[in-house]
């Protein structure tokens, strides 16, 4: 399990400047689907207050295939208002990775293109969502564009609807951690679909940290880039995300999802150590009730996975976790599945300890996420048992309560981050 890395230096194609909106999609669809997408993008842009010149950026060759046929089609549209631009496709370093992170390699080149074009707004679309007219109709596209184009927001990120047992890594680690660190309550802090203002382009394209260091080889996390600089962020409700069959194992997925955030923590430490508490960020789009769970979850297997971890991985955990945490994990391991409850404070401290171990390289990073997996499954068991009993609304309440605990336990992280030797297990 390696750190998630994406494109090296972005290859920036020649693109005409003076563009208002650059809309990029990281895969080349069929001609028909591309034409339909272009139509929806134009319809979405037409709902905005003023007229925008738009470039639709797609990977591939300009003179052939779907881009060529779209260019021919565009001749009938208003001249200069819409054009298609091709760019060399970025290859994903993790083709077998988490499906919705598969296009992370395109984020940096797309931002570089937008910077060269001097675009006002860059919108990067998730092809699994954007190519489906039902999931991403024109009004929803407009919802993504508008806050960045006309609302003065620097970053617009989607907020996907989900059931109580969806996106558990995001709910248990990414959301509460980002919220506690940067003070912004961003439900979906890691994603490859967003709209960004011109201010964000150079930071995303060059991988610049607040202290001026350059990490062009890392996966950019736009939410952290914006939140750590105090830029304006908002969320838009995008409905449910399409579910693809995932073949990746959980440890690898944890590395791909939490790894970039842990790396960002190192770069932005001076910024997040100053943040106290958290605040809501503006949210647009019609709110919907949380989706109900399809059925109750049998927590027995998750508890057994946790117990197996406690029996075998204590020696490895002892390098990362302080003795008191190890003791609490041992106590948890003897509880029957019906009574299994992992306290929020314990989980928050464990995540913080693992983030610190990631920074200190206390153990190899590929081992680190493997060692975290059984504890994470213990949290899943605890959460699922409570969510089974309480329903979707209660599940949302559990996540909020967990996030508040992450906020309150942040002092522990700051203390360990500043003086790691003091707590050296």
């Amino acid at each position: 399990m390696a750190d998630v890395e994406t494109a090296r230096e972005p290859v920036v194609p020649t693109v005409r400047s003076g563009v208002d909106l650059l809309v990029g999609i990281p895969v080349l669809p069929e001609a028909e689907a591309l034409s339909a997408l272009a139509t929806r993008v134009r319809e979405a842009a037409q709902t905005l207050r003023r007229g925008y010149s738009i470039v639709l950026a797609v990977p591939g060759e300009s003179g052939s295939g779907a881009p060529a046929s779209l260019s021919a089609e565009l001749a009938d549209w208003e001249p200069g208002s819409f054009s298609v631009q091709t760019f060399p496709a970025a290859t994903s370093p993790n083709p077998a990775g988490v499906s919705w992170l598969a296009h992370a390699a395109s984020v940096r080149p797309m931002a570089a293109m937008a910077a060269v074009a001097r675009a006002r707004v860059c919108v990067l679309l998730d092809p699994d969502l954007a190519l489906n007219p039902e999931m991403m109709p024109a009004p929803r596209l407009a919802l993504l564009m508008e806050p960045a184009a006309e609302g003065g927001f620097d970053l617009v990120v989607p907020w996907y609807a989900g059931g109580p047992f969806d996106d558990l890594v995001t709910r248990s680690i990414l959301y509460p951690l980002t919220r506690a660190l940067y003070g912004a309550r961003i439900e979906n802090p890691l994603g490859t679909m967003f709209a960004a203002s011109a201010q964000m382009f150079p930071w995303i394209a060059n991988g610049l940290t607040p202290d001026g260091a350059r990490h062009a080889d890392r996966q950019p996390v736009p939410t952290v880039l914006a939140a750590s600089r105090g830029l304006k962020i908002c969320q838009v409700r995008m409905g449910a995300r399409p579910r693809l069959a995932e073949s990746i194992d959980l440890s690898e997925a944890l590395a791909q999802l939490a790894g970039p955030l842990f790396l960002e923590m190192e770069d932005t430490a001076p910024a997040w150590q100053r943040v106290r508490g958290s605040h809501d960020i503006p949210c647009f789009g019609a709110a919907s009730d949380p989706l109900p769970a399809t059925e109750a979850v049998d927590v027995r297997h998750f508890v057994e996975a946790f117990q197996l971890g406690v029996r075998n991985l204590r020696e490895i955990w002892s390098v990362v976790l302080p003795p008191v945490t190890l003791l609490e994990l041992k106590k948890l391991s003897v509880l029957p599945p019906a009574d299994f409850r992992m306290p929020d404070a314990l989980w928050a401290r464990i995540v913080y300890d693992f983030a610190l171990a990631h920074r200190l390289r206390s153990i190899r990073r590929n081992h680190l996420f493997g060692a975290l997996t059984p504890i994470y499954l213990g949290w899943v068991a605890s959460y699922a048992a409570q969510a089974n009993a309480g329903g979707p609304a209660a599940a949302q309440g559990l996540i909020e309560q967990l996030a508040r605990t992450f906020d309150s336990e942040k002092a522990y992280l700051v203390s360990r981050w500043r003086w790691p030797d003091r707590f050296q297990p």
């Binding site: 988490v98 047992f165 049998d298 075998n312 200190l360 081992h367």
Partner: protein, 232 residues
Amino acid sequence: MWFQVHQALQQSLHRAVFMIATLLPGVVALILALLVSIGIAWLLAAAARRILAAIDFDVRAEKWRYANVSELLPASAPSVLIARVVFWAVVLAGLFVGIAAFDAASAIGVSAYVLGYLSKIVAAAVLLLVGLIVARVLSVTVLINAVNMNLQYARLLSLGVKWLVLVFTAAMVLDHLGIARSIVDLGFGILFGGIVLALTLAIGLGSRDLVSRSLDREREKPAHEDEVVRHF
């Protein structure tokens, strides 16, 4: 006859005295070289200890304690280990100087053999170090992956892999040093095969219940569980 006995004794005494007279300067040189090297070694070790203490080496080393060398570290502080290595390296160097001086004085030719063997010892030490690190990395990797695959015999697998690598390393080291090559070849084959067989039997027979419980657990796991719980 008494004359011949007397003459034989005299010649023998003469040879012994001559031998002692020939070796004595070499022995004195050897002892002198050793004493001087011990003195220098003591000074250098003390200097190394002071320098390492000044740069907080023990605290820094603690941070990469787990970096797959933990088994090599002594119970005492790492700086003490380094100081000891410095001390014994200088003493060893003094010993070789002494042996060379002894050789020059006696013309016996020990030093060429010893120095020739030294390169083999260094290479064997490197082999051993690499083997220990590889054994540690592999055993931890196997342990974590086996736990995450929900295998009840994860620790057994991890131990098996660790000892396979260690036995393999030991065989390579002994073979490189040229110690009892034929026995090492045979012993390695028996031991390596034995460990594999023991693992197979342990998993196949001894841990049959354990394995079947693991498989049952996987079978019992609802096929749609991944549909209900989505981690990402």
